[in-house]
């Protein structure tokens, strides 16, 4: 489909977006063929229009941040993509309808919801059920959960609903990544993870980067900016921004960090401990590693103690100085 035909199809209010797409030089198909097509998708709940003529194409290998405030239509868009909502217009994943051909389409999709479902079933049963439906190995899911820092053997008999927020998130991520999904749809996937698990999570995403398309939803761009190479913002059911972002930071990249502090402060020490930092003997110098995509979050944490910090150094693993504060 050419830009001219798209111009003819979309409502007038979407024209600036197309101009932005042209201006930004982003091809409609990232890798030659679009994986996901939204064609004039609209969804209305009791006369309230939640999605309004969405036109989108997402290519294989793209990592898309879907951002927008509450009620912007992110969850509705995701549910349309999962074939869970009936809607006007057409949604296609690799040319197939997620509604009419749901088993074939959903076999290619890994989904992590924002709010873990209150499942009373034991963790082991959830893993077995998911693995049996998706035709994958329970061992692979368990191994992924282990990498994220969750011992499945220990929680296997526990009801899923009784786990902590982070543990639930790890299980859901492991189930989504534990199969050969070509499309990963994640709603604030790292929100409940501790820094170490986030680091591993980014590595896991990096491993899938070449073979999967990722759609990551969040309220705020800074939560997911470092994970993605394209940003789509929704507002009142319309796409109000569709742009590429700098993609210089590798998902698997790590930054060596050194922090010097003026004096010891238990709260800061505890926060750095959570990031697996190690202190010098006098407790005035700290060393550790920060996952590349997590650097904004890390700097956000350190900004709370800015009066305490004497110097802060972040360097890429190869030794090149990245940022000095």
């Amino acid at each position: 489909m050419t830009l001219e035909t798209l111009d003819a199809m979309v409502p007038e209010q979407n024209v600036p977006i197309l101009e932005r797409q042209r201006g930004g030089g982003r091809p409609l198909d990232h890798n030659g063929a679009a994986m996901i097509h939204f064609e004039n998708v609209s969804k209305t709940f009791k006369r309230q229009c939640v999605l309004d003529g969405i036109e989108l194409q997402i290519g294989l290998g793209e990592r898309v941040a879907l951002i927008g405030s509450n009620g912007a239509g992110k969850t509705t868009l995701i549910r349309c993509l999962l074939g869970e909502y009936v809607h006007e217009g057409e949604v296609r994943i690799e040319g197939q309808s997620p509604r009419a051909e749901r088993t074939a389409v959903l076999a290619k999709v890994g989904f992590v919801p924002q709010l873990p479902p209150p499942l009373k079933m034991p963790v082991g049963q959830l893993i077995e059920f998911s693995a049996a439906l998706c035709g994958c190995d329970t061992g692979r899911i368990a191994a992924l959960a282990e990498r994220l820092g969750l011992d499945v053997g220990r929680v296997r008999q526990q009801p899923f609903v009784k786990l902590s927020g982070g543990q639930k998130q790890k299980i859901l991520i492991a189930i989504a990544l534990g199969r050969d999904a070509k499309l990963l749809i994640m709603d604030e996937p790292a929100a409940n993870l501790d820094p170490e698990a986030r680091k591993i999570f980014f590595e896991l995403l990096a491993e899938r980067q070449a073979t999967s398309t990722m759609l990551i939803s969040s309220h705020r761009l800074n939560e997911v900016a470092s994970l993605v190479n394209r940003v789509i913002e929704l507002d009142l059911g319309k796409v109000v921004l569709d742009d590429r972002v700098a993609d210089d930071v590798s998902l698997a990249g790590r930054l060596a960090c050194r922090i010097g502090v003026k004096r010891r402060e238990p709260a800061f020490e505890k926060a750095l401990g959570a990031w697996s930092f190690v202190a010098s003997a006098d407790g005035l110098e700290w060393h550790g590693e920060v996952a590349g995509p997590d650097r904004l979050r890390f700097l956000g944490m350190t900004s709370r103690y800015v009066g305490l910090i004497q110097d802060l150094q972040l360097s890429e693993a190869r030794g090149q100085l990245q940022e000095v504060a």
Partner: protein, 275 residues
Amino acid sequence: MKSLWLTARLDIAESLRARWFGIYCLIFGGLVALLFAFGLTESRVLGFIGLSRLLVTFIQLTMAILPIFVLITTVRSVAGDREAGVFEYLLSLPVGLASWFWGKMLGRYLVIFLPVFVAMAAAVAWALIRGIEVPWGMFGYYTLLIAVMGWCFLGIGMLVSALARSTDVAQGMAFLVWLTLLLFLDLILLGVMIQGRIAPEIAVGFALVNPLQVFRTAALALFDPQLIVLGPSAFVILDTFGARGYQLFALAYPTLLGVICAGSGYWVFRRGDLP
């Protein structure tokens, strides 16, 4: 087919963990125990040596309890799961909608039928051990009647769950359905007949459309083949169906009603928003 069994197994496991299932088993197990403790003793006093009195009492009580129990627990769990976001997640997995809906129905059906059947079968087993005569024909027919009753009200429950978008509405609808069927057993029918607005045949026709009344009459028919307790209505029923015919009708009609309701529920579920 694999997804259907997986969904059925999941639903069975969920039900076995649920509190309602414990109460459900306790009620029917307790009923049999109570009937043995009191009913059978009384039967001996009155000269009964068989199990038929216990079975009749059991089936009458089952008819009072099972429909509302099935309706409320089904809509609570199905509509509740949807409201809580369970559907959003589980239906993002590659499971067909038919496998999901009918798998849930199958799992739940086994869970509601088996405890009632096991309670009745336990009574029979105990009777055999004690050397009490077992009316096998009655036991077999009541087993079928319970199986059909469970299916019929489960079908209605699944339809209500598909139509209602929230647990509260689903529970309200389920309760209303049960109350309507209950009122049409006697009260409303008697009222309209007394006022002379409809012909007695039509009133009896209404009664025969009501699955609760169908079960009630069928259970009585085995114990009282002339349906004397029903009064003049018995003539219409027996003239239309015959005793044997009515027994078959009491199995076929609720089964069909269950299929129609469940089928309509599936149609609504498949065409609408899933979560």
